[in-house]
């Protein structure tokens, strides 16, 4: 009773295709008096966990603030290489995903299984879109200098373009690559000696945030799987989607802070 395997399927004995949906068969852990208490405890625990996440990012924000205070010019200068349009697009994507996440929890609470699952997958896809934008349109050009032809930032550099690939689908901007953090920074036209520092902060903050997006997506996928296989969530039991949702909102919230701090410095 007290080893892992007995608890690995809290949904009861007959798993697949059982007539009763998983959430109805849910039994709380043996040390809880009621399922409600367990739910409260999980939520409390999760809020505490979110607090630790906030504090983790707080460290980054403090670092950001101090460095920006010390080198304001490097920060405005560095920020000018970020395209606020990609940033805004990503903000919108994440906001939408937050909405679908919340709606999906609601759907499960009302036992609308199908709607819930669709909304969950929508959230996942939004997450994916966010990452795609981040990696293909922001990280890759900055690190290699190769832009996709329809990148809205490209016209700025039209005069500097020095190469094309795949029939003009990709364009190489001279000297734009090399905006790596710290010591790897090798951008030829850097205007500020402290710009490498700005890029360090940029990559650390957005990179760690992206990692959180990935973790959030994994949780969502896991929820989705359980919803499909066991109908695990319903009106009386939805702890895991609820907490995944909380996590996702936090990831969103952190981006809401990062976006103006990184993209909108003037």
């Amino acid at each position: 009773m007290t080893t892992l395997d007995t608890r690995s399927n809290p949904l009861g004995a007959d798993v697949q295709g059982g007539a009763t949906p998983g959430w109805k068969r849910y039994i709380p852990g043996h040390h809880w008096r009621t399922a409600d208490e367990e739910f409260d405890a999980c939520t409390l625990g999760f809020w505490l966990f979110l607090a630790t996440e906030v504090l983790l990012f707080a460290g980054l924000f403090v670092g950001y603030t101090i460095m920006r205070f010390k080198f304001p010019d490097a920060f405005t200068n560095g920020s000018s290489y970020l395209d606020w349009r990609w940033g805004t697009l990503n903000t919108v994507v994440l906001l939408l995903s937050s909405y679908t996440m919340a709606a999906s929890i609601r759907a499960f609470q009302l036992d609308r299984q199908k709607q819930g699952k669709i909304l969950l997958s929508a959230t996942f896809i939004f997450g994916l879109v966010f990452l795609l934008i981040k990696f293909t349109f922001e990280y890759t050009p900055k690190l290699s200098g190769w832009f996709i032809a329809f990148d809205p930032a490209l016209p700025h550099y039209a005069s500097l373009i020095d190469g094309q690939a795949l029939g003009g689908l990709f364009k190489h901007v001279e000297g734009y690559g090399g905006k790596a953090p710290g010591q790897f920074f090798s951008y030829a036209f850097s205007e500020d000696p402290w710009e490498p520092l700005w890029w360090s902060i940029y990559y650390c903050a957005t990179g760690i945030h992206a990692l959180h997006v990935i973790i959030g997506m994994t949780l969502i996928a896991w929820c989705f799987r359980r919803a499909v296989l066991y109908k695990a969530y319903g009106p009386s039991h939805y702890t895991m989607v609820e907490n995944t949702g909380l996590y996702w909102h936090l990831v969103d919230l952190i981006w809401i802070f990062l976006f103006p701090l990184l993209y909108l410095i003037h």
Partner: protein
Amino acid sequence: MTTLDNSRAHELGGHGHHEGSYLTPKGGFWTTVWDWATTVDHKKIGVMYLGAVLFMFFLGGLAALAVRTELLDPVRTIQVAATDAAGKPLLDAEGKQVMKTEIVGQTLARWIPPKDEAKLGTVDYGNQLYNRAFTLHGAIMVFMVIIPSIPASLGNFFIPLMLGAKDVAFPRLNLLSWYIYVTGSIFAVCSILIGGVDTGWTFYTPYSTTTDAEHANVVLMVLGAFILGFSSILTGLNFIVTVHKLRAPGMGWFDMPLFIWAMYSTSIIQVLATPVIGITLLLLVFERMFRIGIFDPSLGGDPVLYQHFFWFYSHPVVYVMILPAFGVISEIIPVHSHKKIFGYRAIAFASLGVALVSFLVWGHHMFASSGELGATVFSALTFLVAIPTAVKVFNWIATLYKGSIALTTPMLYALMFLFLFSIGGLTGLPLGALATDLHLHDSYFVVAHFHYVMMGGTIITFVAGLHHWWPKMFGKMYNQFWANVGAWTVFVGFNLTFFTQFFLGTQGMPRRYASYVSEYQTLHIWSTVGSYVLLLGFLIHLFVFIHSLVAGRKAPANPWGGLTLEWEAESPPIEHNFAHEPIVTHGPYDFETTVPPHWNAKDYPLPHLPANAH
């Protein structure tokens, strides 16, 4: 007296009395191993933590002995007669003895010869070994021993029992945090195996980002500490929720044992401070791997920023180390003197108060580097944090008044704690005072201070708690006489080792010195001798415990007459802790009005209460 309302217990459907103890093997050897490896029982996890922590303590202790042995004799060169392979003295053409120069005092270098012949007998090589030894010692003791010691082993085992719960709130998370702990420790051990780390446990930049640049040891060690942080966060989070949600019926916040209060405060600090060190260590790893520059002055970063980040965690963490000890003392003293604790609420609030103020004093580690305004504020707050601690000491001593004091091993240790911790805490005052700290900072005075609080405070209390709860955990008594002999040996050895270091510090001996000018040698010799006595003391304890496990008398359920709920359970407890869910009808320290569980009024006479009592 009853704490068990049997009618209600039945209604709740207790499992009856035939359940075996949690220690009963589940089958053959491998079945049992598997059972332990996958257990979510907080008691087994507590025992697993205990084993891991004691093992790490042993490793850290060995490193400490290496440090002390090296300091026995400072590096110097002497002229010795050269000998040939057969050991005969070599003579030169004129028949005089050939003399050669030899570096002595490098004990570690002689034990661990360098791979590279050219380094043999160089001062640098000996120093490198020493620097690795003290870093290893500090890092192991802090991250792998003292932070998890009381919370993760005794806390895991006893929080649910004391709350009357069947388990912690998230049992699987609990097991996970043990595995994370082991993983982190393995990282650290790997880093030692591939060459060790010479940064000091504080990993100050820019030294830590530049040393051994081409090797991964520092990265591994820092990652290890980072991973251990997660384990600590998860444990703390688990405990907070457990305390909130799993108290037995009838147990209000102020009916909780003070150990629980202490653990609760500790957990708050763990949850709030550890993420900050997490991001700091992560940035340090990035710094080493990518030179991102946040702490690197040549790229515009700031090493002092690192110190701020580091101490923002590491100061609160010293209270993560000491608050659980306070909790244990608050249990031991009332039980072994059959006396209600004095000023329950004051102690409970002092725990919380210390937890909160501890977040505001980190700058006192940086008086020699930070600006005057900051330093002044931090100094003032440092003194503020001493007050709740002083209040607790007064309360414990007041509890002894008109008690019925038995000098059992746990009690003996608790009294030693009062002695040693007071010294440790009081020597924090000249460190907190700005003018004196500028002299004492980074000297052996600091080393002595923190060993008095960490070793004399926490480790001593850990051992005290172990003796207090040993019968409950393993169902066996131990030999009190030899345990007391061990305790006295540790006490003598400890003071010999570390009291001398106060004088070294005020006289100017800097810390982290592989060798020193000869003025300091006498005191260093005493200190080293003391550390061997300490080893002897701990070995005595080790044998007492092994003897107890192998041949100990069976322990009664409540050997000391405690009133907290864990003494209601069997020794060792059954798998679900209690046969019936306990319902709390008396306070944890009502020794004057309650006959403890498993005792009767004849063996445990209650005092005549005066009319105006309570």
